[in-house]
């Protein structure tokens, strides 16, 4: 029957994609570990991810912190628990919002750019040209990006954490009338190292996901400008979904006891 046929076809296509992605991931990680390393390209990608994403991620973080302070104030005032605001802001930012928002912003910025660049290289035969110049495209194009994603995202998120907490402080002190030193005291009292570290581990995983999706979809794009466009969309959408799914899984791993 047609309907069953369709289900079968979709299922087979899914399996094929999963297999291709697994092979791609293994090969990419393998090339990250084995020399030669293209330090020039790794450095370039690190700057692209870590430095040029700062404005976007910083802006996102400061507003996230501000809105958190405002929202929790209007909520907690009902229980006369306004004192917990500093606590709520710093925990939500370091554990969740810092890594997730930065991950999503970087998916849009970096994942899309990588898919477009590598996709264009694929359809204009530049990837074939690499092979003929005895350079492995996985090693030259994919590995440096994965390394840069893995290492730079935690740094980026650390900065985002600080900016986000500062955003909460701004609103709490200047709008809600908290005492500055009390607020800082409260922030520091509740914060544990594990909160920050778990967020940074998440950031590293998200950095890997974003760069992997950008590279994978770019690498397998075909059919000219339209194909590259589709690869870009797929890279951003799949990275965003994977970030949210893996965020849940990681939270479950870190904090459920």
């Amino acid at each position: 029957m047609n309907f069953l046929q369709m289900i079968g076809r979709v299922f087979l296509a899914f399996l094929a994609t999963a297999g291709r992605l697994s092979i791609f991931t293994l090969s990419g990680v393998g090339h990250c570990l084995r020399p030669p390393f293209y330090f020039r390209i790794i450095g370039k990608q690190m700057i692209e991810i870590g430095y040029y994403s700062l404005p976007v991620v910083g802006l996102t973080a400061v507003f996230a912190g501000m809105v958190l302070a405002l929202q929790s104030y209007t909520g907690f005032a009902r229980f006369s628990a306004e004192g917990a605001i500093a606590n709520v802001v710093v925990l939500s930012i370091t554990r969740e919002l810092g890594p997730v928002l930065a991950g999503l912003m970087v998916a849009g910025r970096i994942g899309a750019a990588m898919a477009a660049e590598i996709g264009t290289m694929r359809v204009t035969e530049q990837i074939d040209a690499l092979t003929t110049l005895s350079t492995n495209p996985m090693k030259y194009l994919v590995a440096p990006r994965l390394i840069a994603g893995l290492t730079m995202m935690p740094l980026l998120v650390l900065v985002a954490d600080i900016i986000g907490v500062f955003g909460g402080y701004l609103v709490a002190v200047h709008k809600l009338g908290f005492n500055p030193s009390n607020y800082i005291q409260n922030t520091m009292n509740f914060l544990e190292l594990s909160d920050v570290v778990s967020g940074l581990v998440k950031a590293s995983v998200f950095g890997f996901i974003v760069t992997l999706m950008g590279c994978y979809h770019g690498y397998h794009s075909k059919g000219g400008a339209q194909g590259v466009g589709m690869a870009t969309t797929n890279a951003v959408v799949s990275a965003s979904i994977l970030i949210l799914c893996s965020d849940y899984i990681l939270t479950e791993l870190f904090f459920s006891k």
């Binding site: 003929t132 110049l133 005895s134």
Partner: protein
């Protein structure tokens, strides 16, 4: 130049299809050491696919390809890299790396094999650019800022930069003016004769084919239907070849044009 007893490239019974579409249907081809072979054939007959199979960029469905006596199909990546390091390739659409300046494109092979530092590689690149009639002032431009013909010549410089033993030229003179085309023809002949590199060239330009080629082979419907010395092509006695080299509409080759 006569072909030596053992060919440097040997293609036997090569088959390649894309989905239901058969492109190569049993290609047999031998290229001797130091020889210059030209492949001619209609647009879309699979000339580019043939050299991509030989280079390992496409995996053939069936057949055997030997380079220097080594079977290269299904070769381990490290061995493939070793074989490829002695091969140069000019792509039909140049395929320059647009994230790198012109000189780094030309010096790419040298740099990636760590055979030169950046300053020396740059000098070498400028030297090779001069060979293809490009000025040193272009060295720091992005390939995207060059004209199509200039890109092609940068691609040519990149293909010969590593002094390869085997060079593939996919339509080296397409898109060049007649004078520049002749300069490139001379360059290919020089690379072939002075350095002794084996050349496999694809072209539509019969004048260029006769000038570059020791031998010419014609690909039609997935097979080599004629191969012989370049100077014998005018009286091949093969109606397909005759029609092709004279560009006649009438003849055994039917173009799928009818609506």
């Amino acid at each position: 130049m006569a072909s030596s007893p053992r060919p440097i490239i040997s293609v036997q019974d090569l088959h390649k299809s894309f989905g239901p579409k058969t492109v190569l249907d049993g290609v047999n081809l031998d290229v001797g050491k130091g020889e210059s072979l030209v492949i001619i054939g209609g647009s879309g007959t699979g000339k580019s696919v043939t050299i991509k199979c030989i280079q390992g960029l496409l995996t053939p469905d069936q057949g055997r390809i030997e380079i220097n006596g080594e079977n290269v199909i299904g070769m381990a990546p490290a061995d493939r890299e070793r074989v490829n390091s002695r091969i140069g390739m000019l792509f039909q659409a140049a395929a320059l790396f647009d994230s790198l300046p012109v000189w780094e494109n030309v010096a790419f092979g040298l740099l990636s094999e760590g055979r030169a530092n950046r300053a020396d590689a740059r000098d070498m690149a400028i030297e090779k650019l001069a060979l293809v009639g490009l000025d040193a002032s272009l060295a720091d431009l992005s390939p995207a800022d060059l004209s199509g013909g200039m890109q092609k010549r940068v691609g040519l410089a990149r293909a010969i930069a590593n002094d390869p033993e085997i060079i593939f030229f996919d339509e080296p003179t397409t898109g060049l003016d007649p004078i520049m085309a002749d300069i490139i023809n001379d360059l290919i002949v020089a690379v072939n004769q002075k350095i002794g590199a084996t050349a496999l060239t694809i072209t539509h330009d019969m004048q260029s084919a006769k000038k570059i080629g020791d031998r010419i082979a014609m690909l039609y419907q997935g097979k080599i239907i004629w191969a012989g010395p370049a100077d014998a092509i005018d009286d091949s006695g093969n109606p397909y070849v005759d029609q092709f080299i004279h560009g006649r509409v009438e003849g055994p080759i039917k173009m799928a044009l009818r609506a």
